[in-house]
């Protein structure tokens, strides 16, 4: 079992499991990560969000020493990156975005091989492999070559592989990308269980319902900077509001509606195509009266996606 360095005795607050200070990365003349600082406490699940090219994967790769830092400092388990990377990686598990399973080997061989990279004794590795195959419902696939697995099974195996060293920190880069709803729900269940057991998780995902479900806290990054961080519900309430009205209509109809809604206190109006969005921070009585004339409208609680769009805009990010 792994152990972590004791927290600094001079402070009462336990040292964070992961501490990033003033971290920057310059690729040529492009500043991919711009002096970001954040911390992840032990046992916390933090969702790391941002549009494509915002700097998420670069940041994660800097934590793992796969991208060098241009400035700043990273401490994981109180150990500095990059000097103590081998020790840090021994206590970290990573689920990469791209499938990197060994396609020529069986499910069981993949896990045992990975265990060897961590110098886990053979008997422990075997026991751990059995445990993980059971936990991820892959026991019946044990002897199958990777090519014969479904997408969901491969993703589960990637997560199982990341857990072979019983990590204290789990880094997940888009863990459910390309999965059907059943497979995603199974992954979520397993991740919830890991969280309940106290595993610290850093998660990136474009599925914001997934992040909302799993994360205690979110960091939203855009253009290499952290634009918001906090508990997701609180952030949504503070920055977006309590509820959202989505109204469809022609330009003229929506113009008229927008004029009528101008009297609503603390409500923000946004137009995109032939839809009007109204983000309400508190109840506004005459909204519903005005909406009676509209053809199609929807009232729903504000969610993480609204927050994401609010902070990072609606324009496409294409590399």
């Amino acid at each position: 079992m792994n152990s972590v360095a004791a927290p600094d005795p001079s402070s009462n607050k336990p040292a964070p499991l992961l501490a990033v200070t003033g971290l920057s990365k310059q690729f040529g003349d492009r500043l991919a990560v711009d002096a970001i600082s954040f911390a992840v406490a032990r046992g916390e699940c933090v969702g790391f969000l941002g549009p494509n090219g915002a700097g998420k994967t670069t940041t994660i790769n800097m934590l793992l020493g796969l991208v060098t830092m241009s400035a700043g400092a990273i401490q994981v388990f109180d150990l500095p990156v990059p000097r103590k990377l081998a020790a840090i990686k021994a206590m970290t598990g990573v689920v990469p975005q791209a499938d990197s399973l060994d396609p020529d080997l069986t499910v069981e061989q993949n896990l045992l091989l990975y265990a060897s990279y961590y110098t886990i004794p053979r008997a422990t590795a075997k026991a751990r492999t059995n445990e993980l195959l059971h936990f991820f419902a892959l026991e019946s696939r044990r002897g199958e070559v990777i090519g014969q697995l479904s997408g969901g099974q491969r993703r589960r195996l990637l997560l199982a592989r990341a857990l072979i060293n019983d990590p204290l920190l789990l880094i997940l880069d888009e863990p459910t990308i390309g999965l059907d709803p059943q497979a995603r729900h199974l992954m979520w269940e397993r991740l919830q269980e890991l969280k309940a057991r106290g595993t610290t998780i850093l998660l990136t995902s474009h599925y914001l319902d997934e992040v909302a479900r799993l994360s205690d806290r979110v960091l939203i990054i855009d253009h290499g900077r952290i634009v918001a961080q906090g508990e997701p519900r609180q952030l949504i309430t503070d920055l977006v509001g309590i509820e959202v009205f989505e109204v469809e209509g022609t330009g003229a109809e929506l113009d008229q509606l927008a004029a009528g809604l101008a009297g609503c206190e603390e409500a923000k109006i946004e137009r995109a195509g032939d839809t009007l969005y109204l983000y309400a921070k508190k109840e506004c009585r005459h909204i519903e009266a005005l909406l009676k004339k509209s053809r199609g409208w929807l009232r729903r609680p504000a969610n993480l996606e609204d927050l994401f769009i609010r902070l990072t805009g609606r324009s496409l990010r294409e590399s």
């Binding site: 796969l66 060098t68 020790a87 990686k89 990197s100 020529d104 080997l105 060897s116 961590y118 060293n165």
Partner: protein, 252 residues
Amino acid sequence: MNWFAFTKIWQRNALVWRTHIMATLIGNLGQPLLFLLAMGYGLGHAVPPVDGLTYLQFLAPGLVASAVMYSAAFENTYGSYTRLSLQKTYEAILTTPLTMADLALGEIAWGATKGLIAALIMLASLPLFGVWPSPWTIALLPVLFISGAFFAAFGLIMTALASDYEFFNYFISLVITPLFLFSGIFFPLNTLSPTARLICEHLPLTPVVTLSRMFCYGRFAEPLLWKILGPLLLAAAATWLAITLLRRRLIR
């Protein structure tokens, strides 16, 4: 730093190799054995003895050295590049405590091992052609492994620079094929003009071909030291360069 961590990469490759052993063996050995058959057995009847050896005898040890080169160079170009790009094996390995040096050393040691396996099978099949290697051949094996390490490291350098598989065509046709033809495997270098001979003698495969012939027949007419030290230094330098270039490729 754990000096033997690279053996884990070696073991990984050996495990994968065992799952399709036949295809790789036939792929790597077909060419040298066919050359031996066509040139040695076929053409050999029309060629007078060279340095007191029949043409088949003259040819065989050099082809053993070339089998090492081909096997190691192919493994660490096409094989390594597949692991680097398509299978993302390197990416997966680098999230574990293994380092870039472990990764590169493991790949090179594996390429050299595949070269050695190719050499052993070639040597074992020589009696079929009536060529019986001397007991000294045992001492040749470490030399062949070193030569394999050089070509494996050279291949890994190409992998670190490659943007696609086509890139290796240059390596094979501009480096490997000329070495196969001009390292003294097919004709004795002392028949060449002094300039041509000087160039050929400094090609990295030449000392290995010469040593191969010397050990195979137990005829030690020339000094050995530089013929062994040369390939060893080359292998060390190429390994260092491979680690450096692979790091530059994978760690941005």
